[in-house]
Symmetry: C2
Subunit: 469 residues, 2 copies
């Protein structure tokens, strides 16, 4: 696990600190879980090292809006260094954690900027919060041929793909080929899939119609394919029904009980429950199905001699620590949590509130231990679920209270604005949303020119990798 | 010039238009010149086809702010289709103009989205406004190993390079290598070079210091290298002096009378007037020197049997038409204009006002001709020059009135906000600038992960090319 060129350089905190060495906490991942962990440790008598291969915290619930031209990438990405600039006991390393040596309390790093070589950082307590990716039903090659919205880069690429499809249709003389450009398939009808399908439909029906001269964007089709028998399977059935109705009103074709079994450049194969596969001419596929935990989860499971589930999630104990390694905490949608009473490993919803609550717990646990105190096992407080479908349409399940339509949408709006980090971002997003709402427009429609972004020069190459941050 | 597979598909305007065919105007390039041309033709009895390989109009004077984290890309790029959605006589094609057949009144296109194949569009009047790139002193390979801010894609890449340099320095154990990461060389001290140097210095001195734990960003060095004997050579000498003083106050090292003669991964060679070259350890180079007119300018010159200047600019007549081709108009910094009295070809400053005034003239000329009337030769009305150096620092030359410091900076601010297209963008930029001003912060610091943006799939490949607009 070390670098090729001898032993990797070790990262130490400012060596000049007087007195006895502080307890070293290393947090892997600056998503919702990692961020809350570090926030909870601000000012504590510990040295915190936050490792992320990106230099920003991403407000992931809104990446789909970057993909559909409603927001610009910087508006939902806040520099990690800025968040913690005042916290002198926190340092940020822009690097990818590639693995661990749990015996030696060491994390292996690959700096996200190419030079220098591999490095290490040592911990007294390790918190791993490196999230998950989508799972491609055994077809990992589909990750390149479809779009997803887990990261800002991929969201911009999805935007380019979706908007360029309309541009290609406008330039295409063959109406049959053009129809393929105007057909969008969204795979997976969880919140992200539902949101993407709704937004693409609104783009085609409300935003773009006046913009083209040859094609009519309203002829665009959006197919939402879901393996389960209803959309938003995590929601109560009545809200799934409501969401399906809203999607229908927006012009989305909901195909439940189906799976995508083939993806070709100009069509997809959609299989129904009876096993028959049907080809559908479509050139733009958005993937929002399945869960593949960060590869670091498997590394943790192996180190602790336990198994992972089908999604690659390790199981942590009720206090979120790794079995046999009380100094290692793992949180977020990369792990399952063993129930303290039943002993059964429980998969929690892969949403921000779970990760945030676990992050805060992790921070508190570390503080308590240093004080020689204990903390009762972690418990999830489920405040509710929210999914938005389009302009003024949403569904909400607030501890049994079911909301739909405008009230749910307003709630969604307030919650998302409130949780965005940074006053500036909140204000900018408010301006954009107000403008989008009033004009049915989408101002953020820059299509990336990838030739301009590629960096063949290798002077400042940014290493990109899929593994967890 | 036609496609490989037989004759390319021809693009016609909506065939269903009744009555006699309208005069067809084709405008190549949606920059300041092309945009004003098309705006001036809204509602005129002509069919306008606007061709750009990007889907947005870029407010280029602010791209340097995207490169330095002050603005997000969408905030200065407005979709061309949105600008002209109400103009039913205007259509937009997202394609690259690759050449012309002036005899057959034909423009050759390569759609910016890969499929379909090459296409053509025919014109009665052609307006070419495809701008210019930087010139690399005969070292075209430097374009890949340096950063520039002519386009949004390159501005984001420059941002990634500049911010990643600080990240690399933070991770670098060798102080000598680290110092190379913290040295930035800006080549060319025109407005863009001066602005970039000032912004990088402010980034290092005001924005980033609290963000790092190992390095002190204030130790960062910014060298501004200019061949001429003063910065802002297009400005009056007294303002150049004032700008140089402001740059010095910001910590920029101004090196006039020097040129960059070598660029290696870890250093540059800077040559002084006496011919001695000195190596400077620096890993991040921003290029803002020289002018290379769009290759389409040479194509026009060849077609009209005339020469181009050293920068590759064709010469147009006083009415901006190509000699021998009154139906072809070329505008902006890709051409020189022959003075109507002296007959001398004149190079105008490569700034937005020149292109905008020429664009408006081109639109008016086309309208007048259709009415059987004439128009006096084009004349440049020079409203003045503005360059900003940093927070509250700028210089302005308003028709002989010289301003510096805060008044010039305020004027710069108002002018740039006023000329930004779209109320939403203006408001968002105002929010960002206010926030940046109050906090010394730069909220738009997302570093692009290029592996996420690359599109190896070839499903919706976006063709990127340097030529054209």
């Amino acid at each position: 696990m070390t670098g090729d060129n001898g032993s990797p350089a070790e990262h130490r905190f400012d060596e000049a600190s007087p007195g006895e060495p502080l307890h070293r906490v290393v947090v892997v991942g600056g998503g919702f879980g990692g961020l809350q962990t570090v926030k909870a440790l601000r000012g504590a008598p510990v040295e915190v090292t936050l490792i992320d291969r990106n230099n920003y915290h991403l407000f992931q619930p809104l990446t789909y809006q970057v993909a559909t031209g409603a927001l610009s990438p910087d508006e939902i990405g806040k520099p990690l260094r800025t968040i913690f600039r005042g916290a002198r006991n926190v340092r940020v390393l822009m690097a990818e954690a590639t693995g661990f040596d749990l015996e030696r309390h060491t994390v292996f790093l690959r700096p996200a900027v190419a030079e220098p070589g591999p490095q290490t950082v040592r911990y007294d307590t390790l918190v791993v919060a490196s999230g998950s990716n989508y799972a491609y039903f055994g077809h990992d090659e589909w990750r390149q041929s479809t779009h997803e919205v887990k990261s800002l880069g991929r969201a911009l690429r999805a935007r380019a793909g979706i908007l360029a499809a309309f541009e290609a249709a406008e330039l295409e003389p063959d109406p049959e080929v053009s129809a393929g450009w105007l057909t969008f398939v969204v795979v997976g009808a969880g919140s992200t899939g539902v949101e993407m399908a709704g937004q693409i439909a609104e783009l085609a029906r409300d935003t773009l119609p006046g913009d083209f001269r040859t094609i009519d964007p309203r002829a665009g089709r959006v197919l939402l394919v879901e393996q389960a028998d209803r959309v938003l399977p995590g929601f109560p059935p009545s809200l799934s029904e409501r969401a399906a109705r809203s999607l229908g009103e927006l012009g989305v074709t909901v195909l439940t009980g189906r799976t995508v079994v083939g993806i070709e450049p100009d069509h997809v194969q959609i299989q129904s429950a009876d096993g028959a596969a049907e080809p559908v001419a479509a050139r733009t596929i958005v993937w929002a199905a399945g869960v593949a935990a960060s590869p670091l989860s498997r590394a943790l499971a192996e180190a602790s001699g336990s198994d992972v589930d089908r999604a690659g999630r390790a199981t942590v104990q009720a206090d979120l620590t790794l079995p046999g390694h009380p100094e290692v905490i793992a949180i977020g949608d990369m792990v399952r949590v063993r129930d303290v009473r039943t002993g059964i490993a429980r998969t929690l919803p892969g949403v921000a509130p779970v990760a945030m609550q676990q992050g805060r717990y992790a921070g508190r646990l570390i503080r308590r231990r240093l004080e020689g105190r204990t903390l009762p096992p972690w418990r999830y407080f489920d405040k509710g679920k929210l999914a938005t479908i389009g302009r003024t349409r949403a569904v909400a399940d607030i501890r049994g209270l079911h909301l739909g339509g405008f009230p749910a949408w307003l709630l969604w709006l307030i919650v998302h604005l409130a949780y965005l980090i940074g006053f500036e971002n909140r204000l900018v997003v408010l301006v954009r949303w107000s403008s989008n709402f009033c004009t049915h427009g989408r101002g953020a429609r820059w299509i990336t020119d990838t030739s301009e972004l590629s960096r063949e020069d290798a002077r400042v190459p940014l290493v990109g990798a899929d593994a967890g941050e």
